[in-house]
Amino acid sequence: MNIILALFGAASQGLTWAILALGVYITFRILDFPDMTCEGSFAMGGSVSAALMVNLNLDPFVTLIVATLAGMLAGLITGFLHTKLKIPAILSGILTMVALYSINLRIMGQANTSLIGMNTIISFVKNILPTAQQLGIRDSVLQTGVTMFVGFIFTAVMIIVLYWFFGTEIGCSIRATGNNSAMMRAQGVNTDGMKTFGLVISNGLIALSGALVTQSQGYADVGMGVGAIVIGLASIVIGEVLFSHVKNFAHKLIAIVIGSIIYRAIIAVVLQIGLNSNDLKLLTAIVVAVALSVPVLRKNKGLVRKEVA
């Protein structure tokens, strides 16, 4: 029973974190840009959303929008550092990420902000529904169910929007820029602009995910973004390894969401086995390293066989 509840929780967590993975996918896979900004913009989304709710009593939905815009701004700065000031991609992201740590502390005025007793989108949906007692389930189960529902709606909407966007002229240009930027310049596209555009969208999504996670877990923490990039990558590579045959873009995005849920399930199982939650980052890094090495190992195996023949 415990494990089923844990997996149920994993699915709901996986869906709120899935949007982070979609954002990371845009930079890492589509733009071929290893964007470290993500760790800062994820925490920024959470900080902005929490601070606005607690300090200004803003509507939780409105804070999601502001958080998304803040993340987009972070992406814009990384894009500026990289394309205009010619700072290498990885360093541009790291600079923004480090700067955001201080900014996030400024935004919240402290290292973490609790949302206990505040109205969040989770409590908003929960209030519409009958109470847990009336439904005859535990309150924590209802909470998880609602989180899952909210995460599902947001993720589904984002997949639809991304699928549309990357089919448009600008979206195609961004994809092609990540694939072959010299060719895109020869075809009259401002590739610096396209890279920045991609970073803006990616970090907007990541901040939105940070805000959603904050509202579902009930607090924001300045360190919540640490390892976000690896978590995003883990979801992507798990999705890619499991659905390697998938070609359609929408299916690829769905594979990432499933990857995100499976990643959370793996974590849940490992915690049930009795591993400490402090070991999670190590575990995540190992999951990513293993998943990334699968295609390489497969290829090497193929080569060895050929040599023998």
Binding site: F165, G167, T168, E169, I170, G171, C172, S173, R175, A176, N179, N180, A182, M183, M184, R185, A186, Q187, G188, V189, N190, T191
Partner: protein, 264 residues
């Protein structure tokens, strides 16, 4: 049509690797000229094309295309008037994208790109017609990833992409050098055909002297950052490879004899 005036370009200025690649180049192309450019390695041929395309900027001098001074325009801005095919077949296309997606990207060269669909139904019919002219069977493979095509197919596709929106100037930078001889001659024939059909002005860099003589109405030879020979019309048609070798040898003061094998 195209005027290069007093163009200088030095790479790695003020270092031990300093190299003057273009030394006071003047070149004027007339509308409809198909000019072949030959010269040894490091003579400045590709650099000249890259300066015209905006990959690099000249240290001095002006570049005027069809009356417009493009010397300082960024690469992507001047791209609207230029069609380009590169030496490396990987460079002219996006390998992770489909044939039709690549064509659609090229079809929008010089146009505003917005939030309309990246490819429309009417375009697809146009692409099928255009691909048929290549005679490579690509018209039935619109949704094939370009990465799965051979080098020759990719160069042919790049050529089509470069001319899908008629360019004022077509730049071919040794675009057959990486292909096997049979494929190379097919791509060259195709280039010739497209240039003739659209009455394009074109600059074609090549290592192959025979091709340089066979194609185009004008030939220029570069050596050591300068244009050392410029011949057109009837005089060009009478040229032989031996004439060109002689020119090279004279310009290089005999040291060129070693390179003879490579260039012939």
């Amino acid at each position: 049509m195209l005027q290069l005036t007093n163009i200088y370009k030095t790479f790695n200025a003020n270092t031990v690797n300093e190299k003057l690649v273009l030394n006071d180049i003047d070149l004027e192309l007339n509308r409809g000229d198909f000019v072949t450019v030959i010269g040894g390695n490091g003579a400045g041929k590709s650099t000249m094309l890259n300066l015209i395309a905006g990959v690099h900027y000249p240290d001095q001098g002006t570049i005027i295309l069809d009356g417009e001074d493009i010397t300082k325009l960024p690469e992507h801005v001047r791209a609207k008037n230029l069609g380009r095919v590169f030496q490396d077949p990987m460079m002219g296309t996006a390998s992770n994208m489909e044939i039709e997606e690549n064509l659609a990207l090229a079809y929008r060269r010089g146009k505003k790109r917005g939030l309309g669909w990246g490819i429309t139904k009417e375009e697809r019919e146009l692409y099928v017609d255009k691909l048929k002219t290549l005679d490579l069977g690509l018209e039935t493979r619109l949704s094939t990833k370009v990465g799965l095509l051979s080098g020759g197919q990719r160069q042919a596709l790049t050529l089509l992409m470069a001319t899908l929106q008629q360019p004022k100037l077509l730049l071919l930078d040794e675009h057959t050098a990486a292909l096997d001889p049979k494929t190379a001659s097919k791509v060259l024939e195709l280039s010739q055909q497209i240039i003739a059909e659209q009455a394009l002005t074109a600059l074609m860099v090549t290592h192959n002297m025979k091709n340089a003589i066979q194609y185009g109405n004008r030939l220029i030879m570069m050596y050591d950052a300068k244009i050392i020979f410029d011949v057109s019309g009837e005089e060009k048609q009478k040229l032989h490879v031996s004439d060109l070798l002689e020119k090279f040898e004279k310009a290089s003061g005999g040291e060129f004899a070693n390179d003879r094998m490579i260039l012939a």
